[in-house]
Symmetry: C2
Subunit: 216 residues, 2 copies
Amino acid sequence: MDLSLSDIKRDLLSGKPIVIFDFKGREEETDMVYYGGAVTWESINTLRKEAGGLICYVTGEDEAQEMGLNFLTEEWKSHPVYSRLIKKPAYGDYPSFTIWVNHIETGTGISDSDRAKTIRELHNLVQMYDGTKMNHFLNNFYAPGHVPILASRGLENRKGHTELVTTLADKLGLPRSMVIAEMLDNGKALNVEKAKYYSMSRGLKFIRGEDILKGL
Amino acid sequence: MDLSLSDIKRDLLSGKPIVIFDFKGREEETDMVYYGGAVTWESINTLRKEAGGLICYVTGEDEAQEMGLNFLTEEWKSHPVYSRLIKKPAYGDYPSFTIWVNHIETGTGISDSDRAKTIRELHNLVQMYDGTKMNHFLNNFYAPGHVPILASRGLENRKGHTELVTTLADKLGLPRSMVIAEMLDNGKALNVEKAKYYSMSRGLKFIRGEDILKGL
């Protein structure tokens, strides 16, 4: 496996996506991944046209808490109705969704430019001083919106793309601020071999969950 | 305007999408719209490739309530933190989002087939006897998932695509069970003239919000 951390970091910082497969026997899905600080409307355009899944913003659990956010599965634990909707998906882990937001300076929130704006502002927020994050977040975003915020429980607790990309950010010395979308094929998830071929043909780094677990 | 209700109904029932522009001065967005009862994985594939926006399931407020659902803006009114995120978007109406779900018999919930399964099961649910909807919903779906459920407040209260498509369903004598996604262009919403041209070239009915307000 020809993977160097500095090459991956250079790609991400320059606004080039990388491609990450989780694990055999888990979701078996491949996500296209951008660094939050390098996202432009063109990145969103690529994510929706080339990947096709849900375009999500990913940060750490600590960062999310500092913004005032909680996992929906936690939030709904004592809800009279929604608590009954909390179930483990087929792949065995609780989802990492918190809530869906738009930045207040967006139009409808869904265009490539709007989603890029929301994500860039989330990225700026994640790097703010802890004590100011929540107020800034609550004043400058609204919900429900069109960008889901996922929070990482850490790879020791969950082995999803959310945790893989925040672990990778840690290793690269970047803030936990990533954007992911599942790569889809007609009808189903894109097969891992096709994802590898796609990555190779576009010159994108292809990384497996195992590589990140092993420390690359 | 060459629009007959029976032609529109025939298209929708046969699994062909229609195209709806809201209003000048509002979102000014065009949505691609399918009937919930005719959705297949190919419809989801078309929505993500040709429309590109958020693929949402739309039903009425009554149907949503019978399922146990509430608008998130209502749900969060007394939330210590999230209440501060409730703000009106630029186009002036509160969002019509309730929650995001997957059917329990899906894989990860995001593939074309998984989203079509979730939507078909929501469609079956909407037509059930009122008294059984909630239990069936809470037992057979989980949240948070990948299909947002929008609920219509009625065109007298909100002039969005959510309300336009449920009003249209009423006029057509169909259950309030529709699937919508915004049509996007590079960077921004698809211009209404381009949306008209697209519809014409694909033989899809193009409808304006005004047409629905006027009773078609």
